[in-house]
């Protein structure tokens, strides 16, 4: 045990001494979250919209002014008939059309109820979602101002229609994807590099000749990166909560437990990579090419799995991050309990056992 502790300490020294890598490891999650955060908050400035006003009364004018003066939207054109909507979108300039029903103000006055339709270009689903969100909240704001001091509350009913991608399946839920990518990068790539580094330097042989057993060596290498990755997980969670206000609806302990499972999956992948590569470059190339790329592209992180060709959908099944992303989305955004994600958990667990078994086998063969 003392030997083992000694070994872990040495690994920590390696990591601490290489402060550039350390900076990248800790800085990367922060930078990525901020990058995503600003990319998104900046784009909602001055989004071009069109208005089709059938009512043309004071109320609709007031609402329009309120929307246009918010700084989020810019009037691109006023439409005259419903037939203009489709061509307006086709031109690709506008992101949203707001349609007020005929007699909007009168209806609101008389029945306390009026309809407005919001049509958004959902070919960019994240953006469409935000545009609608902003518009809806401005209208709600107006509505509550209007209701002040009145007995009968005025109710404006925004009717929302997403064009081109009605189900909005890839809503901006990149936080789970980001977490999986960062955890994979730190865990799998860094572990595989640190193990192959020992091979390259010839120190691995000395360790193997020493009384330390191979199991201790591997676990000792993995533990510091496990800690590091847990810190990174926390960073991403905290940042996404404050930058994006992404809620953690479900149980935090469950989320942490599932993340730890995924970490172990990633670490076992790292060990596997290190057993098949003889130098750091190879380890890095395999990690990036065979791990990171498929994870980014096929896991549902950026492109929804449902929209992929069938063959890629099959392939995506063997990507651990796909299951992890589903778990994280489930817990963070839907607040589901373990009952709903046991299958994903089981798959990740199975993958981990498989990777470890193969690594042990490979490791032994190499020793021969």
């Amino acid at each position: 045990m003392k030997r083992f502790a000694n070994f872990v300490w040495k690994e920590l020294l390696h990591i601490l001494r290489d402060y550039r890598t350390l900076l990248i490891l800790f800085g990367m999650p922060v930078a990525q979250v901020l990058l995503f955060g600003f990319a998104i908050t900046n784009e909602i400035r001055d989004a071009k919209i069109a208005i089709l006003d059938f009512a043309k009364d004071n109320t609709t004018r007031e609402i329009s002014n309120k929307i246009l003066s918010s700084g989020y939207f810019m009037l691109y054109e006023n439409l005259q008939s419903p037939n203009d909507i489709e061509p307006a979108f086709r031109k690709g300039k506008i992101k949203e059309v707001i349609i007020f029903e005929p007699g909007f103000g009168a209806n609101l006055e008389r029945f306390g109820k009026a309809n407005v339709q919001l049509v958004a270009d959902a070919s960019d689903p994240n953006f469409a979602n935000m545009v609608i969100g902003y518009t809806t909240s401005i209208i709600a704001d107006y509505q509550s101002e209007l209701s002040k001091g009145k007995t009968l509350p005025a109710s404006i009913n925004p009717e929302i229609k997403m064009l081109y991608n009605p189900n909005l399946k890839s809503v901006f839920m990149f936080v789970p994807g980001l977490m999986s990518v960062i955890l994979l990068l730190v865990s799998a790539m860094m572990t595989s590099i640190s193990i192959t580094k020992e091979k390259e330097l010839g120190t691995m042989e000395v360790l193997l000749v020493s009384p330390l057993n191979p199991f201790q060596i591997i676990v000792g290498k993995v533990i510091p990166y496990l800690l590091l990755s847990l810190v990174n997980t926390a960073t991403v969670l905290v940042m996404s909560k404050f930058v994006f206000r992404v809620p953690i609806v479900g149980s935090l302990p469950l989320l942490i437990a599932e993340s730890t499972l995924f970490l172990i999956t990633a670490l076992s992948l790292g060990i596997l990579i290190s057993t098949i590569s003889n130098n750091q470059q190879t380890a890095m190339m395999i990690s990036l090419g065979a791990l990171m790329l498929p994870t980014i592209i096929l896991s549902g992180y950026i492109f929804p799995v449902e929209n992929m060709p069938l063959i890629l959908q099959w392939i995506s099944n063997i990507i651990p991050a796909r299951w992890y992303i589903r778990i994280v989305k489930g817990i963070m955004l839907k607040g589901v309990s373990f009952n709903y994600i046991w299958m994903e958990t089981l798959i990740l667990f199975g993958m981990t056992v498989f990777f470890i078994a193969v690594s042990i086998k490979k490791f032994k063969i190499r020793l021969e």
């Binding site: 000694n6 300490w9 001494r17 330097l201 120190t203 042989e205 009384p211 020793l367």
Partner: protein, 244 residues
């Protein structure tokens, strides 16, 4: 196996598929001896050495190291041997002190013992000013001597040196061999592989491996006499190219 043999090998064989890397080698090494293990690249030196260190299981044959069986008692073997690879096997991004401390810890030395050893080695190698310097900033010769000292930090019965003098200048090599002699004087058995034939002259006994077999094994003087030549280099050339 007699009393006076610290390594005893008989008919040791290692096959990789149909390729026989080590073919029925037999030899004994006596305590305190400097045993030279020579051969061309690919002759099977490294494979044989790995089997003796407990890194690789033999296909057949028998061998004991420090009295322990290479099939069943590799853990005990590992506790009783030291090992230094051709790459010096120190951590470049750790300091001299940290390296000594780490390897001492791996071999189970207590904290106090490690401290003692650190002071002793720094004093012995006269590297006081380098105590807290990273290994990568040290000259090659220092690294090599430090690596050897660390390989025997736990005072093993046998130390295996795998081409320990690769890429080092002749003066440093000479100094390095002085250290080997000192270790042998303290009754540490030294098992060394090398490419340098002048180094073969320093060994108590030398074995020459050719194509997985031991082609010759004796004191350097005897070998030279037997082949009627003046240097170990000529012995090697005669053995490695029997047709010539």
């Amino acid at each position: 196996m007699g009393e006076n043999q610290i390594i005893s090998v008989s008919d040791l064989t290692k096959k990789f598929g149909s390729f026989t890397a080590v073919d029925k080698i037999s030899f004994d090494v006596r305590p305190g001896e400097i045993f030279g293990f020579l051969g061309a690249n690919g002759a099977g030196k490294t494979t044989a050495m790995r089997m003796l260190c407990g890194l690789s299981l033999p296909t057949s044959g028998k061998a004991t190291v420090a009295g322990f069986d290479v099939y069943r008692q590799t853990e005990s073997i590992k506790k009783n041997i030291g090992y230094m690879s051709q790459k010096f096997s120190l951590y470049e991004d750790l300091t001299v002190k940290e390296n000594i401390d780490f390897y001492g810890g791996v071999y189970g030395l207590s904290r106090e013992r490690r401290k003692e050893k650190t002071e002793f080695l720094i004093d012995l190698l006269k590297i006081e000013e380098a105590r807290n310097k990273l290994i990568k900033s040290l000259p090659l010769g220092w690294k090599q001597k430090l690596a050897f000292s660390i390989a025997i930090i736990h005072e093993p019965k046998i130390v295996f040196l795998d081409e320990p003098t690769g890429g080092v200048d002749p003066i440093t090599r000479r100094q390095f061999w002085d250290m080997i002699y000192e270790a042998a004087d303290r009754n540490v058995t030294v098992f060394v592989t090398t490419h340098y034939m002048d180094e073969a002259e320093y060994c108590s006994r030398v074995s020459m491996m050719v194509d997985g077999r031991i082609a010759a094994l004796d004191k350097p003087e005897k070998l030279k006499e037997q082949f009627g030549v003046g240097t170990m280099h000529e012995v090697f050339v005669k053995l490695a190219r029997p047709a010539a």
